[in-house]
């Protein structure tokens, strides 16, 4: 129920403005040291481009550096259909392992189960996931949200796609504005079938409006006024990535842990907790590992906002 929360937060914001000003300060607490742990960032897709698995180590929380890569590992993915993909270690970037599809080829097949295997020294790690299915994006439209004395006119993009029949499909909707991925924690858009969460029965229909419109970046200008997400001349590109149910749960937890707008909404936050992982250490050693493995089928579509004539008044 992410939107419920979002709406809730906007109510809170209104109250805040009317009632009082909370205040926030950045602090620099000393955090205890911790042993670094292996991080596996293995989000493979069927896009026709090199596929990457990153192996890194965790860092102290305030260490604002690129995470240290883990070299010298063997990384492969094996499909239940007998397919085998060996990820070669990059000699440019540490900790990066890639597999490049032949021209016209791509990674994997919907419905197939894939097993990731990582060997580093004596330690062996594994993870299993199935590649889901993904509906095509039928179209992208623009709509206007008329302004009032609090906000200006806003132009919003909306994508249209129909979730396939039979419940249980999960997706990550990624949007690019002018080629830049909208990747703030607040911009993570997840769908369970055409709705937000399981048990919603929103299956076999168009994605619900808040998901269709989740491809809009909301930012403020220097005067704290909300900027229109898109203006004439901007382009938008939308991808739907299939997720396994475990990956959906993982990302749901990631949103809870990382989307912290602060302010009054902190009253209704949940405790900091470690997000889940589907990577297991199968060697006798007990070295810990975090991260996630998902194989996504991807559909995508884009559109350039050429003129205001394209705007529907709906």
């Amino acid at each position: 129920m992410k939107t419920v929360k979002n709406y809730f937060n906007s109510i809170l914001m209104i109250i805040m403005v009317l009632a009082m000003a909370a205040c926030e300060t950045e602090i620099f607490p000393t955090l205890p040291d911790a042993e670094p742990v292996l991080v596996v960032d293995a989000w493979v897709t069927n896009k026709e481009e090199p596929q990457v698995v990153r192996l890194m180590m965790t860092q102290p929380y305030f260490e604002n550096l690129t995470p240290p890569g883990v070299t010298g590992a063997t990384v492969s993915i094996e499909g239940s259909d007998g397919s085998f993909y060996l990820f070669g270690e990059s000699n440019v970037e540490e900790g990066v392992y890639t597999w490049e599809p032949a021209p016209g080829d791509s990674f994997g097949q919907s419905g197939v189960t894939y097993t990731l295997r990582i060997a580093k020294g004596v330690e062996q790690y594994t993870a299993t996931t199935a590649m889901g299915r993904v509906p095509p994006i039928d179209s992208i439209t623009f709509r206007i949200e008329k302004g009032n004395d609090l906000v200006d006119d806003l132009y919003l993009a909306e994508f249209w796609a129909v979730d396939p029949i039979e419940a249980g499909d999960t997706y990550w909707i990624k949007a690019y504005k002018n080629g830049i991925l909208l990747n703030k924690p607040s911009e993570i858009s997840l769908a369970y079938d055409a709705g937000f969460s399981r048990g919603g029965n929103f299956s076999g229909i168009n994605f619900i409006a808040p998901i269709r419109r989740s491809i809009n970046p909301f930012e403020q200008d220097a005067n704290n006024r909300l900027k229109s997400p898109y203006v004439v001349g901007d382009s938008v590109y939308v991808e739907i990535h299939s997720l396994s149910e475990a990956s959906f749960d993982f990302l749901t937890q990631v949103v809870v842990q990382t989307n912290r707008p602060g302010g009054f909404s902190e009253l209704f936050s949940t405790p900091l907790a470690n997000v889940s992982s589907n990577i297991r250490n199968i060697s006798p050693g007990d070295k810990r590992v975090v991260g996630f493995f998902n194989v996504a089928a991807v559909s995508g579509s884009g559109r350039k906002f050429k003129s205001l004539d394209e705007v529907s008044n709906k």
Partner: protein, 793 residues
């Protein structure tokens, strides 16, 4: 077995009565000015050291050997009344007491009530009268019952601005909040800043932190018993005020030839009305307000029978436009019939209705929308009897039946014209209980109150429940079997014995030792995994997967009156409390509109222990109290903190509160609150990692609440200016008014509410470092002034 004990007990105590020639003195004690019943007034015969206190309806009954007695009737803040009674047969004696304030506010020295906390067997109880509450400094100047009880020992909160309160380590959902016996499921306006109780309509507030008598049950931590005013039975009066947030108006007066009275009191926030001319959205259908309406009627059928009808309706409304927004509120109604069946047997029959609901909707048109309603409602009948056997022996007995209907979601959505119903089935439950209690003074020095309550809970069809697989603790359990029940079929049932015991050993005339034990069961569970509870939190009943919560507490206390005229009360209490089957949540739990909610719940236990010191000065120009609590509140849940004990979010080792009132002149009075609290615990990460460009905090030890946020301290002051009571021409004014001026957080301390960790705002391309930060939030980080004007005529 229990039944035999109970019957034997009644027989034993009743048979003792006939041994001697005795007569009963009974009646009501009321306020002389407005006829309001006085709760807990003492009726005392000094010559034989016998006495009693009035019950919640102002009724007492005292059975004494025949003879002539001087009866002293007293109540804190009122002038004592003495009457000589020649008692040969049962006699009615109603008394009216004059409040000290009506004695033109002269400093009158009044001997305190003879049945002070030292004498009574009651412990772990704090009573705050409305006169005190309205004088305390209040946030934004809005007098608030729940904010006021947060100044008491043993009461904590998760932080400033959070709704609800935590008593002796219990969570917010473990407090039973009763408004004229009706359960209030969400006692907050504006997400917790204000409570739903209108100070103009409240008479008496009593918080039970332990030793809860057998007549109450249903929540395992505390009972907040809020009693509404009956309304002025002598003359018509109007009270009102304009504050920073609310404007208020209340009217009360006699009814039907003084055989009854009424009160009706309303409050509404008014900022939206003021803002309307300037803000388009408010004129175009946006709504932002909250209100409540409280009313009560009572009627004396004859001098032995009286009926009361009281009700509450309140709502918070936040709508961005005509179709989109969010509202929530409580509605309650209580019908009561008091009957003096005979001079020693007092009965009350209550029929109660209570409902909490919320409504959330968005979508600007009928093609795309989401509309969701959720509610919990209950119908209750509650017969209660008090049998006053003699001055030293009172038996209470009765029962209670609550029928609950839960509607977790009545929800519909539409996407591009296709509608989907995502409603969840309603749940039907019955909670019933019978109880018997006996308050017995065994010797002049030793009294005991013991009781037994037996509660039973049923869940009924039609409906489904699920069996879930077992998995690693802390991970979502998935349903493996659906169990379907037809109408009236029992889904689950549980019963609990709930013994209660309180002892008072009088050491001398000014001090006593007390001890108590209680066991309570709770069948309704507040589902809330956020720091502060919020209006969307749902209540859910006990089922095959959720066991009843069981709370037990032992407490030991020392009570002493101090000073000349015994104007100080001092107490120290220690307690140890346990809670079983307490609900917790997996990480990432989905609590809203989730048919498989129970698969996301964990079950744990709680424990709390501590010491509470309380020193109160009740009389004189300077009054007030000092409350200090030293405590620990911990939880243990398999699947959280590696299964080890960890401190609850509201755990505060030190909790010091001081509240003082000073009468400067006849017109000016001052008050102040000072609060110092140990920092509440929170969870800090040790490390970080990046997945798909998102910075994720990581706690390598997997601990919960491993760090403390800094200490909280705050001073609030207020001044009250009484309007002149004479006109310019020297005549006495009929109307009265006063101003309240307040400063909250006088030295503008940025008290931390929480510390959170997040990546810095911005988009970071793959391969570039994502900067992290820690931020400390103060909910109210500045001084908040307030002013209000209040009138009475």
């Amino acid at each position: 077995m229990f039944r035999r004990i109970a019957v034997g007990l009644i027989f034993f105590t009743v048979s003792g009565v006939f041994a001697q020639d005795k007569a009963t003195l009974s009646g009501y004690v009321r306020d002389a000015a407005d006829g309001e019943a006085l709760i807990g007034a003492s009726v005392y015969v000094r010559s034989i050291s016998a006495g009693t206190v009035t019950n919640v309806y102002g009724f007492y009954s005292l059975t004494l050997p025949a003879g002539t007695y001087d009866v002293e009737i007293s109540y804190v803040g009122y002038v004592r009344s003495e009457k000589t009674v020649s008692l040969s047969q049962n006699q009615r004696l109603d008394a009216e007491l004059v409040s000290q304030q009506q004695q033109l506010q002269e400093v009158v020295v009044i001997a305190p009530s003879d049945l002070s906390p030292v004498q009574s067997v009651e412990m772990s109880v704090n009573k705050v009268d409305m006169n005190t509450i309205v004088r305390m400094p209040a946030f934004l100047g809005e007098v608030d019952v729940i904010r006021s009880i947060q100044q008491l020992p043993g009461v904590a909160t998760v932080g400033e601005g959070a709704s609800g309160f935590n008593v002796r380590g219990g969570n917010v959902g473990q407090n039973l909040i009763l408004l004229d016996e009706a359960s209030v499921y969400n006692a907050s306006h504006m997400l917790g800043f204000f409570s739903v109780f209108n100070p103009d309509a409240v008479k008496d507030v009593k918080l039970y932190k332990g030793a809860i008598p057998a007549q109450f049950g249903g929540r395992i931590s505390s009972l907040l018993d809020v009693r509404m005013k009956e309304g002025n039975a002598k003359e018509f009066e109007v009270n009102g005020g304009i504050g920073t947030v609310f404007s208020r108006l209340a009217a009360e007066g006699p009814l039907l030839k003084n055989r009854g009275s009424f009160i009706v009191a309303g409050r509404r926030s008014y900022i939206d009305i003021l803002a309307r001319p300037f803000v388009d959205v408010l004129r175009e259908g946006a709504r932002l307000n909250f209100y409540d309406l409280t009313g009560k009627l009572n009627y004396n059928i004859n001098d032995r029978n009286r009926v009361f009808l009281s009700g509450y309706s309140g709502r918070d409304i936040f709508f961005f436009d005509k179709q989109q927004g969010f509202s929530w509120g409580n509605n309650t109604a209580t019908l009561r019939w008091n009957s003096i069946l005979n001079d020693r047997l007092f009965a009350n029959f209550s029929a109660i209705y209570s409902k909490y609901d919320y409504n959330l909707q968005f979508g600007e048109d009928n093609l795309d929308y989401f509309r969701w309603q959720s509610s919990i409602s209950n119908y209750t009948v509650k017969p209660a009897f008090s049998y006053f056997i003699n001055a030293n022996n009172e038996v209470t007995f009765g029962g209670e039946a609550n029928y609950y209907t839960f509607e977790p979601a009545n929800a519909k959505g539409a996407s591009n014209g296709e509608t989907v119903d995502v409603s969840l089935e309603k749940k039907y439950n019955l909670e019933a209980a019978v109880y018997v209690g006996n308050n017995l003074r065994i010797t002049n020095r030793f009294s005991v109150e013991y009781g037994m309550r037996y509660s039973y809970f049923w869940g009924f069809g039609p409906g489904s429940q699920y069996r879930y697989n077992d998995t690693v603790p802390g991970v979502r359990r998935t349903p493996v079997e659906e169990l379907r029940y037809s109408e009236g079929e029992v889904l689950a049932s549980y019963g609990n014995w709930e013994p209660r015991l309180a002892l008072n050993l009088q050491l001398n005339s000014v001090s006593s030792l007390k001890a108590s034990y209680m066991r309570l069961a709770q069948y309704l569970h507040l589902i809330s995994n956020t720091t502060a509870s919020n209006p969307l939190d749902v209540w859910t009943p006990t089922s095959i997967n959720i066991k009843p919560e069981v709370g037990q507490q032992v407490a030991l206390g020392y009570f002493r009156s101090l000073g000349k005229n015994r104007s100080y009360e001092f107490s120290v209490e220690t307690y140890y409390r346990t809670a079983a089957n307490q609900i917790d949540y997996i990480d990432g739990a989905d609590l809203l509109i989730n048919e498989f909610l129970e698969g996301d719940l964990l079950s744990g236990e709680g424990r709390a222990y501590g010491m509470e010191l309380y020193l109160q000065k009740k009389q004189g120009r300077f009054t007030g109290w000092l409350a200090y609590t030293l405590s620990r509140s911990e939880l243990k849940v398999v699947g959280i903190n590696k299964g080890n004990w960890y401190p609850a979010r509201y755990d505060q080792l030190h909790n010091l509160k001081a509240t003082g009132f000073y009468e400067l002149t006849k017109r000016w009075s001052l008050s102040a609150n000072f609060t110092v609290l140990s920092g509440t615990p929170t969870t800090f990460p040790t490390s970080r990692y990046v997945i798909q460009g998102i910075l994720i905090p990581y706690n390598a030890d997997g601990t919960r609440n491993n760090v403390r946020i800094p200490v909280f301290h705050r001073l609030d002051i207020s001044a009250r200016l009484e309007g002149r009571n004479t006109k310019r021409n020297g005549r006495v004014r009929k109307n009265a008014d006063y101003w309240m001026f307040g400063l909250y957080n006088v030295y503008a301390r940025k008290n931390p509410f929480s510390i959170y960790f997040a990546q810095e705002d911005g988009r970071y391309p793959s391969g570039t470092p994502v900067p992290s930060q820690a931020r400390q939030l103060s909910v109210i980080g500045t001084i908040v002034p307030a002013i209000s004007y209040n009138f009475h005529f």
